[in-house]
Symmetry: C2
Subunit: 227 residues, 2 copies
């Protein structure tokens, strides 16, 4: 008896916003099973595309999002995770700035939206588990790599980075110690520009220096951001 397992990909795309915190991109399913449930963007892999191509295609099709940073997360394959037939899903997670995209639901998606990770709706299939796995991984990654690159604007006040870390790690940080540590790596540069959002003293803007970052990383430098 030949094997009859389908191969799918699903994506957990994280977005960050200083006011909203961390959110995940979800689509509302147009068809059964789990019609009208929220679910992760994803779908079956085509015979001639790679796994990563498949995720990017599905993301674009269903939500209109083109993600730059994308990494494989885990593969889920319990025999009964899809009620129709057996589907093994290779999942990926990505990071974007929500403001960079205009969401647009298409193909099997009736709707698309960002959901704060602390206020997720009921999800289709085993997608809750997938999202939880992704959050754990994101936290882990954050601890030894400056994920802010992908989640913050090109130029941002230092307090944005601080808030991002505090939100993701669910902890308080000492502003001075945090800044000292981040600046000591040398991949973050201060600009001669200020910005003021609402009240208070205007803040200096910073930007990541990707070149320096990758130089350090390639040298095997360890960004120990355990805080």
């Amino acid at each position: 008896m030949p094997q009859s397992i389908k191969v799918a990909v699903d994506a957990v795309v994280f977005g960050y916003d200083a006011e909203e915190g961390v959110s995940v991109l979800l689509i509302k399913r147009k068809f059964e099973p789990f019609q009208k449930f929220w679910a992760l963007p994803g779908g079956l892999v085509k015979d001639d595309e790679s796994l990563e191509e498949a995720v990017r295609r599905e993301l674009k099709e269903e939500s209109g999002v083109d993600v730059t940073y994308l990494e494989q997360l885990y593969s889920f394959g319990k025999p009964d995770r899809d009620p129709r037939n057996r589907v093994v899903s290779i999942t990926y997670y990505g990071l974007v700035r929500p403001k960079d995209y205009q969401l647009s639901a298409q193909t099997d998606a009736e709707d698309v939206a960002w959901f704060n990770i602390s206020r997720l709706p009921k999800l289709a299939f085993d997608h809750k588990q997938i999202v939880e796995t992704a959050i754990k991984r994101l936290r882990g990654k954050l601890a030894y790599e400056p994920v802010g690159f992908e989640l913050l604007d090109k130029k941002f006040p230092f307090s944005d980075l601080e808030k991002l870390y505090q939100t993701l790690l669910a902890t308080q940080l000492d502003r001075r110690n945090f800044k000292k540590r981040i600046m000591s790596y040398g991949f973050l540069e201060e600009l001669d520009e200020n910005v003021q959002r609402s009240v208070g003293r205007p803040a200096a803007l910073f930007q990541f220096n990707r070149k320096k970052y990758f130089e350090l990383k390639d040298k095997g430098y360890n960004f120990d951001l355990f805080l």
Copy 2:
């Protein structure tokens, strides 16, 4: 056009031995493609078994090894990784004590053997890449968790643990500092027994206290073994 992708699992099983160092379990393929090439144990997933069940079954069938510690590694799915048809492989890695097993080649394996990771033969498919990924992961894991559990005998002299780390991390360790650190976690206990292997002063035996280890781990304790 329906999807026609097969789902396989492959396992990178590591063994450690104080004299031999770190080795990987390989099988010699009985059939085409890559007939008589060495390859990772693995094969197609059956419709009604989970991915992990599939790996364990294939491992047992092809090599006679029953692995206790097993973790998902990565999924490989480039369209051309198998010359016959498209196969997505979900790979796992495991750790065992080679001496615990009597190898026995069966089903599609003509032979089974341990190969030192620095003297690997030419491998079938993209298995070289898979092994490299697994070695990287093992090194990473070693840095924050005491992998010795699975790779050393129940009771072992402290120098075995030291050698294991030095081998895997390819670095020299200061005996006193290493012991201080390991002992400070409290999951390793010294026994009232000595052993003498070849010449030299007899060594005290140690054993892992799994209970204490998992207690600490569950409390979110961080084993920072970066050395």
